[in-house]
């Protein structure tokens, strides 16, 4: 049973455009929602993360929007650049005193291609 559903599977955006990736989760006990970025030949790297007590978090061109009632969260990449081309994974986890941060449930990933 997949607990975190991610869409779309692939996304093509023109340089300067907005990239939007969506995720939905089922387990309401999740309280930590990170996004990971993975380049070919590399491991996933933490991009940005949010907790459910806020509805939005912005870091540079990257923004997470969180809708607790709908159990959905999304990643917005503003002014998308060719260097943003990568696979993006959403994930969900538990903030149980910090000991469970590493046990994450991931989405299936979105391959983002930004054309020059």
């Amino acid at each position: 049973q997949q607990q975190v559903k991610q869409s779309p599977q692939s996304l093509i955006v023109q340089k300067g455009g907005i990239s939007i990736i969506n995720c939905a989760y089922e387990n309401t006990a999740f309280d930590y929602f990170p996004w990971y970025q993975q380049f070919p030949g590399k491991g996933p790297a933490l991009l940005i993360a949010i907790r459910p007590d806020v509805s939005e978090k912005k870091e540079g061109r990257f923004t997470i929007s969180f809708n607790k009632s709908a159990k959905q969260f999304s990643l917005h990449i503003m002014d998308s650049q060719p260097g943003d081309s990568a696979t993006y994974f959403c994930a969900a986890g538990f903030n149980a005193g910090g000991t469970s941060y590493g046990k994450l449930t991931f989405g299936q990933g979105t391959i983002l291609t930004v054309h020059p």
């Binding site: 996933p44 993360a49 994930a91 941060y101 046990k103 994450l104 449930t105 991931f106 299936q108």
Partner: protein, 119 residues
């Protein structure tokens, strides 16, 4: 600070053979995790070590998989005997506890992965 190192980067074996994957976490990180991504699917949790102890191995598929972390440093994941469905990319990640290391407590740092192909 060196990152998480995994070896080999790619292994091709035949069904029924044995493969051992190795992970060297960031120095000083007590928490070490193994994950696996089967082609096109989500990255799935396999198990979690705190130092040399298995904290959570609920994601291990079956008893053909054996993970060890001798001395609480590097870890190995052995698959014996390998089956076709074991093919995928095996990721190792490490995380420090609060106050340890430059990466902090809340960041899970992944290695580049070991790609396993079982023919």
């Amino acid at each position: 600070e060196a990152g998480v190192t995994q070896f080999p980067s790619h292994s091709v074996i035949e069904k029924g053979q044995t493969v051992t994957l190795r992970c060297d976490p960031i120095s000083g990180h007590d928490n070490l995790y193994w994950y696996r991504r089967v082609m096109g699917k989500e990255i799935k949790f396999l198990l979690h070590f705190v130092k040399e102890s298995k904290q959570d191995e609920s994601g291990m598929p079956n008893n053909r998989f054996l993970a060890e972390r001798t001395g609480g440093t590097y870890s190995t994941l052995k698959v014996q005997p390998a089956e076709l469905e074991d093919s995928g990319v095996y990721f190792c990640a490490s995380r420090g506890i609060r106050g340890q290391g430059a990466t902090g407590a809340n960041v899970l740092t992944f290695g580049a992965g070991s790609r396993l192909t079982v023919l």
